[in-house]
Structure formats: C-alpha cells, structure tokens
Amino acid sequence: MRVTTLPLAVSAYTATSALGLGLDAHLEALRQQHSGLRTNDFSSAPLPCWIGRVAGVEHVALPSNYAEWDCRNNRLAWLGLKQDDFLTKARAARERYGAARLALLLGTSTASIGATEEGYRRLENERLPADLHRTSIHTPHSLTAFVAAALDIKGPCMTISTACSSSAKVFASAQRLIRLGLVDAAIVGGVDSLCDSTLFGFNALELVSPEPCRPFDAARRGISIGEAAGFALLERIDAHTDAPLHLLGCGESSDAHHMSTPDPLGVGAELALRDVFDRAGLDATQVDYINLHGTASQKNDAMEAGLVARMFPLHTRVSSTKGLTGHTLGAAGIVEAVITLLALRDGFVPGNAGVSEPDPACSEHFAWHNETRPLQVALSHSFGFGGSNACLAFACADRDACTR
C-alpha cells in the first residue's frame, strides 16, 4: 500500500529563534557558527542552565483586534510572521486561492501554557486573575486560532501537538490535504516559547544540561531549551513552476517503545526514514545532507549516530544545529526545516556546533565545521516524546544548478 507523493513547491519560508529574526540572521549565525544560547534568565525560579531566548518578545504588541490572544507564544508567532515578508506572502496566497482553499497547520508542544502558569502564580480567590481569565489562551489551540484569525483563513485549521515532532508532521498533513485536492495551498509551521513547564519538566527528567548543550559530544550533559517561530508556504509545483526549493516527502512512524526515551535501536526512526524514501522515490545514496534531531540527550544522540552509521553512505554529511538554537521543542521541526532549506539554497553544510570531543559512536558522516558544497537533496529529522517520529525530504528544484 505504498503511496508515492508528488513534490510540492516551498514558495516562502521564515524562522525566528535565538539566532535572530528571519532568514538573513539565521544564515549569518550559521555561517559564523554563532550560538544564540545564554544563561537562563527566564524561569520564574532559579534553574542553572542555558536557554535559547528570542530577544524582545516581551515588547511585541499584537494588533488590538487580536488582544484576546495576547500571550508570549502568540507574540512570538506575530514576530515570526512579520519576518521575510511572510505575512504579506501568506495573505497574497489567500487572495490568489481564496480563503477556503488554504489550510493552516501549526505545531506546538506547549502553546500558551506560559500564560496559564502565570495565572496560577497570581490566583485571585482560586480563580485565574481577571486579565488572564480568557479561554482563548488557555488551550493548546491558542496559536493556530490566533494565526487563523490574523490571516482570515477559512480552510482546515489544525494544531498538531506531538511534542518535538509537531512542526515536522504539519508538512505531512498539509501534503495530504493538497494531494486530495481539498485545498490548493497550505501554511505550515510552529511556535513554542520558553515556559516553566518545559524548563522544570525536562529538569525533572534530568535532561537539562547545566552548560550550553553539546549535541554528539562524548561528554554531553543534556539539552538546552529554546524558543522559536517558523512558517512555510506549500503550493502545487504547477502553480509555482519557478520555486527553487521543493518538499519531496514526509515519513512518519511511532517507536512503540517508551514515553520519554527513544528506542535505543532506532527501529521507529528507521521506519520513518524508509517511509520518506519510499514516498519521495529516494534512496540513501542520494541524500547529501541531514539536519539531525541531535538534542544532546544521551539516548537520542546515541540512537541517531547509530542510525546514520548504518543507513547512509559516507558522502552524506550530517549535523545537529541545536548547539546554536537550543532545542525549540514543538518548533524544532520547522526551524530545522528552514535551516535545511537555507543549506540547500546556499550550498553549505552547517557545522555541528558545540562539540569539543566527538562521541566515539559518531561516524565520518559528521560535519563538525561548516562545509561549502552544492546540495541536491537534504533531510530533516524530528523525533519526539511518545515515540513520534517524522523525517522530511527537501530538494533543489533545478538539478543542473546543484552538481555533486
């Protein structure tokens, strides 16, 4: 019952993270290998760790019509939408196709839970305080409802919340809606913002590093949590024949192993990879670069290093960029999809930042430093809690422009 999927044009994309606002800031930070991590100055109680905080989110103002959705996560969403003219391009797509022919699919792991946490810190007679007594922000759908209203989208609007694979899986859902002809285009993406729930939650699981995270380092000590917003516009290629970057396919699977640790054998992750290969009509030898999930947790990185070593030829280059952005959780899928698209567009492999002594399990595939090389096909890995796996495949549209 294998279904081969047709590629889609990625006609606009943007990211906002600790690396900065928009594509140019990300490209510059990747080129310089400049990390956006800083010591934790966010949590409501001290927690000695490093975070990827987006500067100035507190000062973003939502347009007054959307005041009911005001909270840190939606401010970050609004800030992210305004980069790289994404808001304008999204509105143009709505005009072009009609509001009912456009889907909105966003991923988030915690949505606006930060506002609920704040409400519980300032309870008034066992009720949320008056300024936070708004149903719009105490729901995991808060992000998508806000963006749907801001863009006036009348097609399918849905939040995917599968922890760290959330904003990768949105590409798969969008692709299916377009393939069946239910919509002509889709806005996908994700936003997660810093909050106590994830900082102290991952701390309770002993997964938070006291120093800046070091994915694939032999002495890695856990993750550094970050926040980010990212969006992409997906359209049929025949409607956008000059789009230079394509989504080839999305692979999905479940680990069926454990709620908070990956299957050490990587069986589920390998199934997601094989799924995307089948759909995109690819094999491992055609993959030039993989942006790894690479969280700097002991178990993910051990599993993923093994997966790369056994599945890919040595000319496939791999790296994690979480040493620069931090682990942006529900937004990691879209942020790393955008980094993968930048790598394809500009012909470079971002180095695996933060490593001083590579884990001996890491093979020759790892790019510890930036490399300049034309890329044709690149993957992005996202593996989440609950064993939710997604692998995305992107490509340069013009094969002549990218030669190995």
């Binding site: 009912a100 519980y120 009720r127 759908h141 998508t144 849905m158 919340s161 069926a256 192993h257 589920g268």
Partner: protein
C-alpha cells in the same frame, strides 16, 4: 466541492454515563443505560501503565479498544489520530500548581503525561504499533478536525485509520474557566473502502453546525465536554441514517452524510 467518503468499521464510546456504543443506542431508543462508573477499564494497558496513565489517556484507550474490537482489525499496523481539545486538564492543573509553588518538585512522570500526545504514546506502546500516530487539537472543533484528518489520512494513504477524540474533566482554576465538567471519549475506525457497509460522505461547507434532534442528556454532555461534539455523528451511526454539520474549524463546517448498502 470535493468530497471524501470513508467506511466506518468500528465505533467506541466511553463516558461516566455511557459504557459503550450499545449504551448510546439504548439511550437513543428511550432506555436508561447503566452507568459504567468513574474509571474506564482501559484493559489494553499493562497494569503498570494503567496506574501511571492520567484519566484522559484511560478514556481515550478505552474508546479506541472498543472501536478496534468491533472493526476486527489488528492494532499494530493501524495509523492513529488522537484528538483532544484540552489534553489532560487535571495534569495541567497539577503542573501549574507545582510550578507556582516549588517548581523543582515537579514529577517527571506527570510531566511526560502532560504532552498532548500522551494518549497516542501510551496507545502505540501498549499495542506495539509503529504506524504513524498523531495528536491534534482545534478547540471546540477538535472532533470535526480530527475526523477530517483521519478521513484524509485514510483516503490519501489508502489505509485504515483509528480516530480517537477525548477530553477529561477539568479541575481547579483552569477547570473553572474552561467549564469541561465531565469526561468523554469516542473512537472510530475508518477505512477507504467505499463499496460496502456504513459509509460517511464528508464535504467542506460554510454552513453553521446542525444535527437531528438528540435526547436532552446528549445535549448536556455536548455542553460539558468538547469531545462530545462527536455525539451527533455517533447518533447517526446508531440510527443508520441522517446527516449533520460538524464544526471543523472556526470558519469551516464539515457536512457529514451517512450512506449504507442494504
């Protein structure tokens, strides 16, 4: 207007008032079904996992197991979509209370239970399912959005799909605001076959939500729990006839028509 047709192979239902789909049939026929009690059996989980799992997960797994049993499908290859408007509200209330007081005392188990895909995680682990699984929400449109996602998955991938939609009762300040006062979970196994059995024809519409008359109890449950927005469709399936418009997004309706072969 594009339409999607899927076959319904199995139906599951659990609430503190309705033990299963048969109990709903009984109610719709004018009967008084016996209430199943406050905690679903969720027998698919191992005793350890059942102890660890929060209420929303137990409700989801109970409904899922019933639908699978009726469908006769094996569980390990079945793609699944878990929809919920709020996830586990008691867990969110616990998290926010502890974070407001002594954040470093947060329980690691309750943290992993707080992810929106907790039910999908427990389910795929319990059933050794390595097929794609998802966890979605769309506010009060979560059932309609979940049905659309599951039907699209079934048709686009040409495979049967398990849809579960469930919400737990709220407590504390969050519960006071949201007003979800009772647990409710329902599940469908849908497949792309269109030639036999009970079929649903889905079409996007701008029309407002509507449904055939329902007993007062059903209307009350729909007010008390977002996931009970599935009741009009379950009633159609019980009656073997009818159509309704479900909310699938703030500005999108899903017109659902039943089709059956004699």
């Amino acid at each position: 207007m594009h339409t999607l047709t899927v076959q319904v192979e199995g139906i599951g239902l659990w609430s503190p008032q309705l033990a299963d789909f048969n109990a709903l049939r009984h109610l719709l026929a004018g009967g008084m079904p016996a209430a199943p009690g406050i905690r679903p059996a969720a027998a698919a989980l191992s005793p350890n996992e059942r102890r660890r799992a929060p209420e929303s997960v137990l409700v989801a797994i109970e409904a899922a197991s019933q639908a699978i049993a009726l469908s006769g499908r094996t569980m390990e290859n079945l793609a699944c979509v878990f929809a919920s408007a709020y996830g586990d509200q008691a867990t969110t209330d616990y998290m926010c209370r502890v974070l407001a007081r002594v954040p470093t005392e947060l329980s690691p188990t309750r943290f992993h239970n707080a992810v929106h895909n907790a039910a999908a995680g427990y389910w795929t682990i319990a059933t050794a399912c390595r097929a794609p699984s998802s966890a979605i929400c769309a506010g009060n449109a979560s059932f309609g959005a979940g049905l659309l996602e599951a039907a699209v998955l079934a048709r686009a991938e040409d495979r049967p799909v398990l849809l579960v939609c469930s919400d737990s009762a709220g407590i504390g300040p969050l519960g006071e605001l949201i007003g979800c006062t009772s647990a409710f979970g329902c599940a469908l196994v849908v497949s792309p076959s269109t030639h036999t059995g009970t079929r649903l024809r889905l079409a996007a519409t701008a029309s407002a939500p509507r449904h055939p008359p329902l007993p007062a109890e059903c209307l009350a449950w729909m007010r008390d729990n977002s996931s009970a927005a599935g009741l009009p469709l379950l009633a159609m399936l019980a009656n073997g006839d009818g159509d309704c418009v479900l909310v699938a997004a703030d500005q999108l309706g899903l017109h659902v028509q039943m089709e059956t072969n004699a």
